[in-house]
Symmetry: C2
């Protein structure tokens, strides 16, 4: 009996996901866009993290081995931490992707433009929605985080990081786009390197920031669809045009 109930639940879940997928496709209907349903991950950290330790040691003039940005240009030599979880793993830059896939079960999607459909936006902070995006010969990490910067007032922060060095990251521009109910919000910026801490990007507010009310305006039935596009940056001639 329990088996049948579980089967029925699984089928219902599938129908629900299919419906969300269809709705997101309808909104972001450009041909060939891949819609990926991303479920939330309850953040395990927000205790004093490695990032804080890195910052403290940097202030003292001591760089921990995992953040030797000067040497990072030779990835063979540089160990790197996975910045998103409080997991004790350390590894080289080129094995971060396989670590994120295998240990943290983060999906990887191919394509220049994808739609990231974050479900269950109502879940309490802190919550992360994470996906990897393979594009233009590189892997990027999209992080959407619900966090209470000011107590009692959760906000959503979305940023894209290159699984590569800061120098490599400078060659790209990412765009995040929300589009619903005759409203559109676009954020364009250079991705940060995964060697920089995602926590500090978010605490600096140098990313797409949404108040709860704005997130509700853009979300549909508890899910938020974010269109993602990555391009190679053209020496930012874009600043000149409107």
């Amino acid at each position: 009996m329990l088996f049948f109930t579980q089967c029925f639940g699984a089928v219902l879940d599938l129908i629900h996901l299919r419906f969300q997928h269809y709705k997101a496709k309808r909104v972001f209907s450009a041909a060939g866009q891949l819609v990926c349903v991303v479920n939330p991950t309850h953040s395990l950290k927000y205790a004093p993290t490695r990032c804080a330790a890195v910052q403290a040691s940097t202030e003292q003039g001591v760089l921990p081995p995992c953040h030797h940005h000067e040497v990072v240009h030779d990835p063979q030599l540089v160990p790197c931490t996975c910045p998103l979880f409080s997991c004790p793993w350390e590894g080289h830059l080129e094995v971060v992707v396989s670590h994120l896939r295998q240990t943290h079960r983060i999906n990887i999607l191919q394509g220049a433009e994808i739609v990231f459909l974050a479900t269950d936006m109502h879940l309490p902070a802190p919550t992360d929605w994470i996906i990897m995006h393979s594009c233009l010969g590189h892997q990027f990490l999209l992080v959407l985080r619900k966090q209470e910067k000011y107590e009692g007032h959760p906000q959503f922060f979305a940023t894209m990081m290159l699984i590569g060095t800061p120098t490599q990251a400078d060659n790209f521009t990412y765009r995040l786009e929300l589009n619903r109910n005759q409203r559109r919000l676009k954020w364009e910026a250079t991705p940060r390197s995964i060697l920089e801490c995602v926590d500090s990007v978010i605490s600096d507010g140098d990313c797409l920031v949404l108040n709860t009310s704005l997130a509700q305006l853009f979300s549909d039935n508890g899910s938020l669809a974010i269109g993602i596009a990555i391009t190679t940056s053209k020496v930012h001639s874009s600043e000149a045009e409107m």
Copy 2:
């Protein structure tokens, strides 16, 4: 002596404004764009306002004469308040523009695309930066407001309102764009009618919202340049495209 000091101060101010104007033009350099330097206005209200009174009376089923939206389609019959100031003035929709110009000294600019350069972003909340924009045969009001929705955490809210009825407003789309340091933020929406309360648009968060940190990233030397464009909306086919 005092006269010479004042003259010198005025010349310095002119040079400063000219320099800001030049800088904004450099960033938003599309040909023909008009840059307008907008100085802040300290809000006189945020005491119980007419809006609150309007809401209260609406809840009691009584609409005050200035908000009879049902009758508003004949502007000859409908009195209307100026929603931005705690001034006791009431008048017909078609004289709101001259009231704002004459009594509140709000500038009016012509052109499909203009740049709004708000100065002195550091001033404490509540502060408003307001301008009128004449375009496509209508007048629009751009309001940038610094307000503490959460105590101790000022935010910036920018919205555009049509000096016209809600039905007329539905025919337009406005775009606000920030562009600096390889970052770009765009907000597109249908303008609200000036008959709706700007306070409620801001408290609903249905506008461009900037945290202080994001506003600092986009501002240059204490001034924030916002590119504004207004178009007629094409039955929102835009939702389909990315």
